[in-house]
Amino acid sequence: MAYALQQLINGVSLGMIYGLIAVGYTMVYGIIGMINFAHGDIFMIGAFVSLIALLLLSAGGLMEGPAAILLVLVISVAITGLYGWAVERVAYRPLRGSFRLAPLISAIGISIVLQNFVQVAQGARPKPSEAVISGGIELMREGDFTVQLTYVQILIIALTLAVLAIFTVLVTRTRLGRAMRACEQDRRMASLLGIDTDRTISLTFVIGAALASVAGTMYLLRYGVIDFYIGFLAGVKAFTAAVLGGIGSLPGAVLGGLLIGLIETFWSAYFSVQYKDVAAFSILVITLIFLPTGLLGRQEVEKV
């Protein structure tokens, strides 16, 4: 019981990270109908920027604790958002309206570039970092097994909820959100109505990258070790989350992220750690085959 509760806590905090990345996939897919293959690597960039910013702040001895983390988040969001913008500008925008495979190949190319750029710039070895926040609350004790909710997990859950709240307001209440939804419905019509679609799409990428960078920071705080390759697996899993929740649906992405996080955690805890990635991939395959619109997606009727 206690063991299961602990897994639940771990699964939810992992799921929040996947959910934040998944929102980026779902947004970009909704607005331009392509899988942003490099999104997982944007998450990786976010984690690296956070690491460097964290080291910079602590090396200067300027700040510690919550204030440092907040500043790290701001730096990470700004720089990773810039990466999102640059990727869209360089690799996707010139191919808009081109045939469908071109952006996909271009995205794979960018993904290779980002991974190897970080490898060249920062080295291939995993980067361990010291725990910035340690400790936690002891929730319950059963025999010699204690269920712990760590402060990092609390931070992850609180921060994700806060970020998602801001994001929801952004999408539902602001001009930019309306423009994004209009582009999603019908891009040509939106541009005829005077919406700058290029700018809207750019901002979609920036917002997606910003959310992924928050996920990157949290990943760093939670696991403490990052390398240039973490983006691939995290990306595929987050994409699975987006598909599971119903691609194009923002609440669906978060829900899908939570489910993937829970499934992965429980699978590792009760079955096999080695095959935990197989679990995620299998869910992806099963969802697409039996529930192609996902849990919260819209049903599409085939037009003939």
Partner: protein, 271 residues
């Protein structure tokens, strides 16, 4: 009249929406049957039920073909084509990057495939394939000539002008040797001279032994060439009969007058 196609209580629902409600009628052998109705009356949905793109929620679609009666609603769509029902599409669906001739050969895929020993024999050069291909090219040539496209045989289908694309799609459907040809708005976008040529073509297809079922907006065309007209409104069949009888039916007039659209004037003019 001996029917080629018979619909019995066909109903199609999408979620809560009933697009086609309890439609029953028969299309005769050697006849042109037209389905008309205002926009959103469920014409294309009904067509998709007949040709297997949708599976009707209720009801039966029976093909009384040369090989006996086939219940189409149980077949996957490619089997329906093999059973002898060919169709065209409202928004033309040609293989745009392939030539007109290639389009017509793909229509004869199943026959050619059988002649190749399902692909394996032909790779090794062991089969009766060359003869089968010659025959297929001859049939394609026949329909290219019939649709006046012989000189465009080697042009990509996507590069043909609109009217020629419409004709090529009919030629392609005819290359499957259908017993029933279903045309979704074949005259849409054609100029008067082209519609005239289309009417001619349809009569020749009929004479060659293929019955025709068509959806059409152009009332002039419908009234002139159809043997029987089925009128749909809001998914239900409100009238069936000869063009003259349908034209005089008060419910039909009401359905068209009730809708502020350009069909109104078309129906009015036809009446």
């Amino acid at each position: 009249m001996s029917p080629i196609l018979e619909l019995r209580g066909v109903t199609m629902r999408f979620g809560g929406l009933t697009a086609v409600k309890d439609v029953s009628f028969a299309a005769g052998k050697g006849e042109i049957t037209a389905i008309i109705g205002p926009n959103g009356a469920g014409k294309t949905t009904l067509f998709n039920c007949i040709t297997g793109f949708y599976r009707p929620t209720e009801g039966e679609v029976l093909l009384h073909g040369a090989a006996g009666t086939t219940p189409l609603q149980r077949l996957p769509d490619h089997r329906i084509a093999q059973a002898g029902v060919a169709r065209t599409f409202q928004n033309i669906r040609l293989f745009a990057g392939m030539t007109a001739l290639e389009n017509l050969l793909i229509a004869q895929h199943n026959r050619l495939m059988a002649a190749t020993g399902f692909g394996i024999g032909a790779v090794l050069g062991l089969s009766r394939y060359p003869a089968a291909e010659r025959q297929a090219v001859a049939q394609a040539r026949h329909w290219l000539a019939a649709t006046d496209l012989l000189d465009r045989a080697d042009d990509p289908a996507g590069a043909l002008p609109y009217g020629q694309q419409r004709r090529l799609e009919i030629a392609r459907a005819m290359c499957t040797d259908p017993q029933l040809l279903c045309l979704d708005e074949p005259a849409a976008g054609l100029n008067p001279r082209e519609s005239e040529a289309l009417a001619d073509l349809l009569r020749r297809i009929l004479a060659a032994g293929t019955a025709i079922l068509l959806i059409e907006h152009d009332m002039h065309v419908v009234m002139r060439i159809s043997d029987r007209v089925v009128v749909l409104d809001h998914g239900s069949m409100i009238a069936i009969g000869t063009p003259a009888a349908v034209r005089a039916d008060p419910r039909v007039i009401a359905a068209y007058l009730g809708e502020a659209d350009d069909e109104e004037s078309a129906a009015g003019a036809a009446a």
